[in-house]
Amino acid sequence: MQAERLRGEEARRLAPLRRGWAALRAGQERHRPAVLSLLVLAACLLPWSPLGTPFVVHVAILVMLYMVLALGLNVVPGFTGLLDLGFVGFYGIGAYTAGLLTLRFAGADGWTGWLGSFWVILPLAALHGALWGVLLGAPTLRLTGDYFAIVTFGFSELVVLIITNEVWLTRGPMGLPGIAPPSLGGYVFGSNLSMYYLILGMVCFTVLVMHRLAESRLGRAWFAIREDQVAAQTCGINLLTYKVIAFAISAAFGAMAGSFFARWIQFISPNMFKFWESIFILCMIVLGGMGGIVGTMLGAALLITLSEVLRVVLPPALVGARFLLFGLILVLLMRYRPGGLVPSAQPPRGRRVARGRRGEAL
């Protein structure tokens, strides 16, 4: 009783804030094209503004890279409701596909061999990622959530082990240095500034694809699976097919981001693709609000900025330990705001209990 009354009071106190937020959201809904164009324009101008120091541009590229990654991962836990702990495996597959093809086929200018061109490698890497997504997903997506999560995790660990140990192919722990940057015609994307616009384009492309997917028949099937598998199946949705498609698309975006990463940073090594990277990306979509596009991007922006600022601010001994904060964020969010910062749908809390599996309810 007491608690309920308190909650009521709190609700009353927060009411004006809520109304303001609702108005803001409604305005954003109504003027969405204008808001979007303004945001993209602002992003285009950022490097030329007084804010655009080399450090800021570097962090911005990182933010956008992780936006692509987080949006890619979001398809599986966010849209389809399956926990994927091995996303970074696909990121690594993409990066190594790009790195190896570039080193083998691209000339010094990164253009000579057509197979070494970034614009050929990008879709190839995405396809390669999707292929592994299907190979891994088809046999394992029949399992319930927990088991599937563990399999994906094992897969990403195996990917790291293989690229560490198959020295003849990947040079193992020494990594692949000297990967040429992308080029188009005669123009080489040699500077951070040009890479900034390249990744900005990739983010726009990813957002567009994700938005169209979420509105499509495919997306609706995913949401149905997320909300209630049994009901979805009853409505004639082939669970396995739709889950495999989600997994493959997610993997393709991971690999795509990986190929950008390889050509941007120009050096890749196995320990860039460790398990904690997956958790970091997962943390972004949880923070932003699973399933939402805006929230996911916001989560990526916040966490990368936080991480990079902490890297500069913290004493060297504590830099590695900044993940402590991310762990805390995950725990607190699940406890107090399971829907994330920008909840995309009403989080199913409590109500589900009565309908849970045997033994799940109380």
């Binding site: 590695g320 725990v331 699940m334």
Partner: protein, 295 residues
């Protein structure tokens, strides 16, 4: 060679089994993969290191103290992180578990530093590192004997607790059917707390044993060991305590032979490969029941 690998594998397998039991008990009762369990194992090793190495507590006492502290830590984690989420979707609890694991791992980094630490030799009774038996080209150290004895004793007492005591009966009831157990007046929260305490204490012992055996401890040690132990739990059939013991031994032996005869580079990979194969082909494990795994 063969016999030596078998003995090494059994020693390590016993440790995996000790950790795996913690996973499997918690999973049995609340269907949660407690990702933080590997971190408890790591804390067990580090606490014993602090007690025995820094504070000069006798080794065996340090081991018991570390067990008690980890049991407390396990209960605390459940109370603070998992209990508020009992009614939330499974995904939320799983993500929380990952968060706790990340938090503890980095807490250890802050408390003890990120470098590898040797387990102080002076803190461990000297005879443990001596050779106890030598036959047919096989050497067994006192430490290996000690590890084996401790593992056996822990397993036996756990088996006793689960099958013979009131608490064990209540735990099995909760694992079988939570609602029915609740209706019979079993206090779910108390059972879960006790389960966490018991599992964490076993994990802590494993941490101390491995720390002394390999003579190195580091903040990320719980990660690999945790995964392998989880693989062992899956192998034996998750939720099944004797299965976890068997799974640990099988995995330990498999790893020892794999490293010796196949490739030492891929010794970690063997655990992952076994885990994936088991999950795909026989998700209910070696001893598990055939239900509730496929959707």
């Amino acid at each position: 060679m063969f016999l030596q690998q078998l003995i090494n594998g059994l020693t390590l397998g016993g440790v995996y089994a000790l950790i795996a039991v913690g996973y499997t008990m918690v999973y049995g009762v609340i269907q949660l993969i407690n990702f933080a369990h590997g971190e408890i194992y790591m804390f067990g090793a580090f606490l014993a290191y602090t007690f025995a190495g820094t504070l000069g507590v006798p080794f065996y006492l340090a081991m018991v103290l570390s067990m008690l502290c980890c049991a407390g830590l396990g209960m605390l984690i459940d109370l603070v992180a998992y209990r508020p989420l009992r009614l939330a979707p499974r995904l939320a609890a799983l993500i929380t578990a990952i968060g706790v694991s990340l938090f503890l791992q980095n807490l250890a980094r802050i408390l003890w530093g990120a470098q590898n630490k040797p387990f102080p030799h002076a803190a461990v009774p000297a005879y443990l590192h001596e050779t106890a038996l030598r036959f047919a080209g096989v050497t067994v150290s006192y430490l290996q004997l000690f590890m084996f004895a401790v593992t056996l004793a822990m397993m036996a007492s756990l088996h006793f607790i689960i099958t013979r005591t009131r608490y064990g009966k209540a735990m099995r009831a909760c694992a079988q059917d939570r609602v029915a157990a609740y209706l019979m007046g079993i206090d779910m929260d108390r059972i879960v707390t006790a389960t966490f305490a018991l599992g964490s204490a076993m994990g802590a012992v494993a941490g101390v044993l491995v720390g002394v055996y390999f003579n190195v401890i580091f903040p990320t040690m719980g990660y690999t060991a945790g995964v392998k132990a989880f693989a062992a739990a899956v192998l034996g059939g998750i939720g099944n305590v004797p299965g976890a013991m068997l799974g640990g031994l099988v995995l330990g032996i498999g790893e020892a032979f794999g490293a010796a005869y196949l490739s030492s580079l891929y010794s970690h990979g063997i655990a992952y490969a076994i885990m994936i194969l088991v999950i795909v082909l026989r998700p209910y494990g070696l001893l598990g029941k055939r239900e509730g795994v496929k959707s």
